[in-house]
């Protein structure tokens, strides 16, 4: 048996210290001194001492690094350096350079403070940092710098101090004379370590003179790889371009200085060198023209690579790309369980689970290898204990089968029952990423039970979702124990169930428990189709309540209310009284589901919910359920009644307008006359619309599908029906009727200052009847407004969420139940004052009244 890895070397970064690279360090860590701007010689081989020197890392497959002998992807790359002919300023630090110049003596380089004051200030600053943190210390230092600016005479050497100005971006002027980087550097060299601490610099990692560059580190080639185009031509990275500019100018500057060229020329080259170094660090400095490609596109240099959403931090470090993931369109499948996900065969052939070979599964895994990557269920790769990864193909198959033995890993195709992590963006809450059991299905889309649409906030109008396959035992265990769908039934937002029955499943159960009756055979067939094998004894005629009860556990007790406030009573697992509707099994407030969850646990609840869901759908399949145009029909009597109601309302409005014009309206306090009138009119119109809604609902036949849906809580409300069959109602913008635009009217078909309902956006038609052009226009106004609202809201709330999660992400419950931040500072002594978990408790509390009742009833 091959020896397994017994010891894992577990490396952990303990801390990161930030600081400057001193010229000494730059030299020490470098492997190359770059002296020539040329990249490759005639043969296309990197030039020694050039920017692509192989000692700075390898980027060509097959080559080995001359420094550590490693190959591409193994060799981390090494730094080089350039010796600058003249020092230049580091653009990111101009502000602190100015501060330093202003607060140190031009002659002796000491800070402009008495000796004793320096000691005192440093002590005070240390105190401040310990007590209130770095931010406050920085503010204090700012004030100190501001006060030092005005010192006229050095307290150490009595030299006169001049005012120092900065001419943006990088020219420092003292007394109308330009300070060259050499001047600045020689000044800073004189400042003792202790003095710079007053300005907030830590002299161990940041000596002031290091802010003026004399050596420039060259990043490894691995950080700026060149790409070979299809034509065979090499295209260099932006950084390489920039660096070769620097090297070229630097060489020229050297030559000119050595040749004793006139100072003007040297100065010019020096400025050019400063420009190149500046744009190498930051190509977006204002007042400095950005360095460009030959095509005119600005180069992306160091700063731009780090910052913003597409920068290194947020794009590559805080978010990482992964393998073993799939993405496709989702579609519904009510036949699969809530915690299953249907995965297409084509995807199953690509995604794999690593399985360690042992004596007992050796033969089974060999079968997988035999089937190979094409046939399902097969395997794609074999990994030897030494880490070598071998692709299974027709050529390698035989050999791999022969050498396979315990200790090897086989990456076999995913199969039914494997754990997968399923996700839909935007991942706004933890229910946006849940783990499901895989079920391999034909066709090309992911299939999920419509009941889990709510937690993912998805629908099937073209949404796509992502699937990830955990690759280690730990990951699988965590996914199954912490992320499985049944563990997420109750949301931690407010303690209600986010997963429940919905739409047809509710309508179905509603109709079933309301009074459907079946003969025995039908009832048995219905239950069988749901998946119930344990069928209770039925009489000749079976009513819906009995069928529903067949799903429930025998000892289940429940007392609750239905949507129309009628009692729902379940005793000994039998539904005795009441109708099952949205209030019992729906999402958000499914009280029956909550009770099941508490009494039987999450697994059983999910199973029962699945059964109820299926029962609802199958019931509808049996008795038929559809909605059509006929459902919106009204009888002529009702029609004329509604028209009369509308006419009355319009008359009322007319009366209000007449009163207003006659000056008989008393305005409400703090409102103008016009505003009061508007409010009154709005009230009249909204009242009539609501009344009509009630009338329509009251007169609709029992079996009207819309009424069934809205009563059961499956979809829609009565007003929606009224809008279709009777009247659409007032369109309002910002809580008001449609306001006059230009020319004192809403549309040019009306008279000026027309206050009548029609002229201000009241839609008298129903959707069935159809809207006339004017009404349609007003309808589209509110439609457009709500589109705008959504479009503007999404980024705003997204940013709020980003800020919240960034601020709160490292707060956790400690073992002593206190809430603390990353530095162990206590935020709450007991989470939420009682230490209860919202997603475990009854909506955030324990209902003591119910608890006592429970005890008494026992």
């Amino acid at each position: 048996m091959i020896k397994m890895e017994t010891e894992h070397i577990y490396k952990k970064v303990e801390k990161i210290v930030f600081g400057f690279l001193s010229p000494k360090q730059i030299k020490k860590m470098a492997t190359v001194k770059v002296v020539t701007p040329e990249l490759y010689d005639k043969d296309g081989y990197p030039v020694d001492g050039g920017l692509m020197d192989t000692r700075m890392g390898v980027i060509d497959p097959g080559l080995r690094c001359p420094v550590d002998g490693k190959k591409l992807k193994e060799c981390p790359g090494y730094f080089g350096y350039i010796e600058l002919a003249r020092p230049v300023i580091h653009i990111q630090y101009t502000k602190i350079i100015l501060d330093l110049l202003r607060s140190t003596c031009g002659e002796c380089g000491r800070i402009l403070m008495e000796e004793s004051e320096i000691e005192e200030t440093i002590k005070h600053l240390d105190c401040v940092e310990k007590e209130s943190g770095l931010n406050i210390k920085r503010k204090k230092i700012k004030a100190i710098i501001a006060s030092l600016k005005t010192v006229k005479k050095c307290p150490h050497c009595r030299a006169k101090q001049y005012n120092i100005k900065i001419e943006k971006p990088l020219t420092f002027i003292e007394n109308d004379k330009k300070l060259t980087p050499i001047d600045i550097r020689s000044r800073f060299e004189k400042t003792p370590d202790r003095d710079v601490e007053v300005i907030g610099l830590n002299p161990r990692v940041a000596r002031p003179e290091w802010l003026i560059l004399t050596l420039l580190p060259i990043p490894p080639v691995t950080m700026r790889p060149s790409i070979t185009l299809d034509t065979g031509e090499r295209s260099e990275d932006d950084l390489t371009h920039k660096l070769s500019d620097i090297v070229r100018i630097n060489q020229r500057l050297f030559e000119n200085i050595n040749a004793g060229a006139p100072e003007v020329i040297v100065e010019d080259l020096w400025d050019l060198l400063q420009y190149h170094v500046t744009t190498y660090f930051d190509n977006t400095v204002s007042q400095i023209p950005p360095a460009r490609h030959r095509s005119g596109q600005a180069l992306k240099t160091l700063t731009e690579r780090i910052k913003s959403k597409e920068g290194r931090f947020r794009y590559n470090l805080a978010g990482k790309r992964v393998n073993f993931a799939a993405r496709t369109v989702i579609s519904p499948d009510p036949e699969i369980a809530f915690n299953e996900v249907g995965v297409p065969r084509a995807i199953a052939n690509e995604l794999t689970v690593p399985e360690r070979v042992n004596e007992w599964n050796l033969e089974r895994l060999k079968e997988f290898i035999k089937r190979g990557p094409e046939e399902y269920p097969g395997a794609n790769y074999v990994i030897r204990p030494d880490g070598k990864k071998k692709k299974i193909s027709d050529e390698t198959k035989e050999q791999l089968l022969e050498e396979l033995q315990p200790g090897y890993l086989v990456e076999r195709h995913i199969m039914d029952g494997d754990i997968a992590i399923f996700n839909r963006q935007p991942s706004l809450h933890r229910m946006s990423i849940m783990s499901h059991k895989i079920k391999i299905l034909p066709y090309k889309s992911f299939r999920l039970n419509p009941a889990v649409c709510t937690p993912y906030a998805g629908d099937f109008d073209g949404d796509e979702m992502n699937l990830h396959i955990p690759q280690t035992e730990e990951a699988r265990a965590e996914a199954e124990i912490l992320m499985h769908v049944q563990t997420q039934i109750i949301t931690p937002k407010n303690g209600t169930n986010i997963i429940g029955c919905l739409e047809d499943a509710i309508s179905g159960n509603y109709l079933l428990t309301k009074g459907l009756e079946f003969n025995k055979d039908e009832a048995v067939e219905l239950l069988m189709s749901v998946g119930i094998k344990d069928i209770p004894k039925f009489g000749k005629i079976v009513n819906g309540k009995e069928i529903f009860s067949a799903l429930l556990p025998n000892n289940f007790e429940y007392i609750g209310k239905s949507r129309d406030d009628e009692d729902v009573i379940i005793k000994n697992g039998k539904l005795i009284k009441g109708i099952i509707d949205g209030a019992s099994i729906g999402e958000e407030n499914g009280n029956l589901i909550r009770k099941l969850h508490r009494d039987y646990g999450e697994d059983k609840t999910l199973e029962l919910m699945g059964l109820m869901f299926k029962l609802g759908i199958k019931t509808l399949l049996y008795c038929g359920f559809t909605s059509g145009l006929a459902d919106t029909d009204l009888n002529p009597e009702l029609k004329s009644k509604i028209q009369k109601m509308l006419n009355d309302a319009e008359k009322q409005v007319e009366e209000l307008i007449r009163k207003y014009k006659a000056g008989q309206i008393t305005p409400m306090s703090t409102k103008t006359l016009e505003e009061s009138l508007e409010l009154m009119i709005l009230q009249v119109l909204n009242k009539v619309r609501n009344k009509i809604g009630e009338v329509v609902a009251a007169n609709a036949p029992e079996k009207n599908s819309f009424i069934i849906m809205s009563r059961s809580g499956a979809r829609g409300n009565v007003l929606n029906l009224a809008m279709m069959s009777a009247v659409v109602g007032q369109q309002s913008l910002k809580g008001k009727r449609i306001e006059n635009g230009y020319g004192d009217r809403t549309l040019s078909v009306f008279n000026k200052n027309d206050l009548s309902p029609r002229a201000r956006g009241f839609i008298r038609s129903s959707y069935k009847k159809g809207l006339d052009p004017v009404e349609f226009f007003f309808g589209s106004m509110t439609g457009r407004d709500s589109l705008m609202d959504t479009a503007l809201r999404t980024p705003k709330s997204g940013y709020l969420y980003r800020r919240l999660s960034n601020a709160l992400q490292d707060l956790k419950i400690e073992y002593d139940y206190t809430v603390r931040d990353a530095n162990k500072a206590i935020i709450q002594f007991n989470y939420g004052d009682d230490g209860m978990d919202v997603s475990k408790s009854e909506g955030g509390t324990i209902n003591i009244k119910n608890l006592i009742k429970e005890v008494i009833l026992k």
């Binding site: 020896k3 952990k12 970064v13 303990e14 801390k15 990161i16 210290v17 930030f18 600081g19 400057f20 943190g133 770095l134 931010n135 830590n202 940041a206 700063t303 780090i306 805080a318 706004l428 809450h429 933890r430 931690p492 937002k493 303690g495 209600t496 409400m668 703090t670 910002k734 809580g735 503007l792 809201r793 705003k796 709330s797 969420y801 800020r803 919240l804 601020a807 709160l808 992400q809 707060l811 956790k812 400690e814 073992y815 931040d821 990353a822 530095n823 935020i827 709450q828 007991n830 989470y831 939420g832 009682d834 230490g835 919202v838 475990k840 324990i846 003591i848 006592i852 005890v855 008494i856």
Partner: protein, 379 residues
């Protein structure tokens, strides 16, 4: 018997239990049974150590945030005052902005004053700020004499109870470097007290004079007494707690403002904490959403934990984090890195993002316990 369970069950729950048990007249045996069940439930419902509660809280606000409306103006209940509500207000609260976009006070009054509408209206008039503009018919610029003549509106003055003497005194206090006198026709004459007066100065003075504060409480531009239960409450547009609380009729124990900073500076940090909870709750319930109180409490505790009100912004909570990398990942990475290099800051990698950046387990949830199994080495 209840005392036995103290320490095992949260005190608030026990108190509630005692009340309910007494109300339902439980027998001793029932009591014990119920308490045992309560203890069992309480243990089940307790939160797990290591739970990333911060993220859960953030999610509990972030997700409903997408459902909130953007409608800035809404009518606050019965009243007719405009208030910022919905998402913009929630953002405003979490930002801990110094300036609230629609400052509002709810002024409660003490016993004898709060039921009599006349007395309430009187107090309301006292609170409302009066500017010179409201006391004048018009402001005339006399170009030749380079002065302003204010034609007073005697009726308004009488209604607001302002005497001429009071007016002149107030003007003298508020308008510096201005000569104030009464003209023979009863007008108030204002003239800039400068050696050379240009027309521009006169015009400037006119604009300034219009906005001159005469009476009431500064910043309160509107008052509205409304009935709440069986007492009257005055809602105001504009907020000035400091001066309002000084009035003897005002009940200083209940009067509040919606400006967090004002509350923090006048009533202290604990009051500010309560105010955040109150305001955030108001926004959420008004939008018809349901978010557990714990989450709101949690954020307000965090925002006020240091004794100052900190916003959820790059300069607030996130900006004051110890970890350099955590700050850099959020916003303005360069500023934080360069700053850290100068000060030689250390990042001890004890929060979440830094470890994500470095591909290390995060110190939360299952990444928290540091269990190492000692295994026998193979010979």
């Amino acid at each position: 018997m209840i005392e036995e369970f103290r320490g095992k069950i949260n005190g608030m729950l026990l108190d509630e239990f005692e009340k309910e048990a007494n109300a339902m007249k439980l027998t001793k045996a029932q009591r014990e049974k119920a308490l045992k069940l309560l203890e069992k439930r309480y243990k089940e419902y307790k939160i797990n150590p290591g739970e990333a509660i911060g993220v859960i809280t953030a999610e509990s606000f972030g997700e409903p945030g997408t459902q909130m409306t953007l409608n800035i103006f809404h009518f606050a209940g019965v009243s007719e005052l405009n208030v910022t509500l919905g998402l913009p207000r929630l953002i405003e609260i979490f930002d801990a902005r110094k300036e609230v976009s629609t400052p509002i006070m709810e002024v409660y009054l003490k016993k004898p004053y709060n039921t009599d509408i006349k007395a309430v209206k009187k107090v309301a008039a006292m609170i409302k700020e009066t500017k010179l503009r409201e006391l004048a018919h018009e402001f005339l610029i006399n170009i030749i004499k380079k002065q302003i003549e204010v034609v007073l509106n005697k009726g308004n003055m009488r209604n607001l109870g302002i005497t001429e003497k009071f007016l002149f005194d107030a003007l003298a206090v508020k308008l510096k470097k201005v000569k104030i006198r009464k003209a023979s026709n009863g007008n108030v004459v204002l003239k800039p007290d400068l050696e050379e007066v240009s027309l521009k100065d006169v015009y400037k003075l006119k604009e300034k004079a219009k906005e001159t504060f005469i009476k009431g409480i500064e910043g309160i531009s509107q008052v509205l007494p409304i009935k709440q239960g069986n007492e009257f409450v005055i809602l105001t547009t504009g907020s000035n707690l400091k001066d309002t609380l000084k009035l003897e009729q005002v009940d200083e124990t209940r009067t509040i403002s919606n400006s967090l900073f004002e509350i923090a500076s006048i009533l202290g940090i604990e009051a500010a904490r309560e105010a955040i909870v109150y305001e955030a709750k108001k926004v959420i319930t008004e939008q018809g959403l349901d978010v557990d109180t714990r989450h709101i409490l949690f954020i307000s505790d965090l925002m006020t934990a240091t004794g100052r009100v900190k916003g959820v912004t790059r300069s607030g909570i996130t900006g004051e984090k110890e970890s350099v990398l955590a700050r850099a990942t959020f916003e303005t990475p360069l500023k934080h890195i360069t700053g850290a290099a100068l000060a030689g800051e250390e990042d001890l990698l004890n929060s979440v993002v830094e470890n994500v950046l470095l591909n290390q387990p995060v110190p939360l949830g299952t990444g928290l316990p540091g269990l190492v199994a000692s295994m026998k080495k193979n010979e």
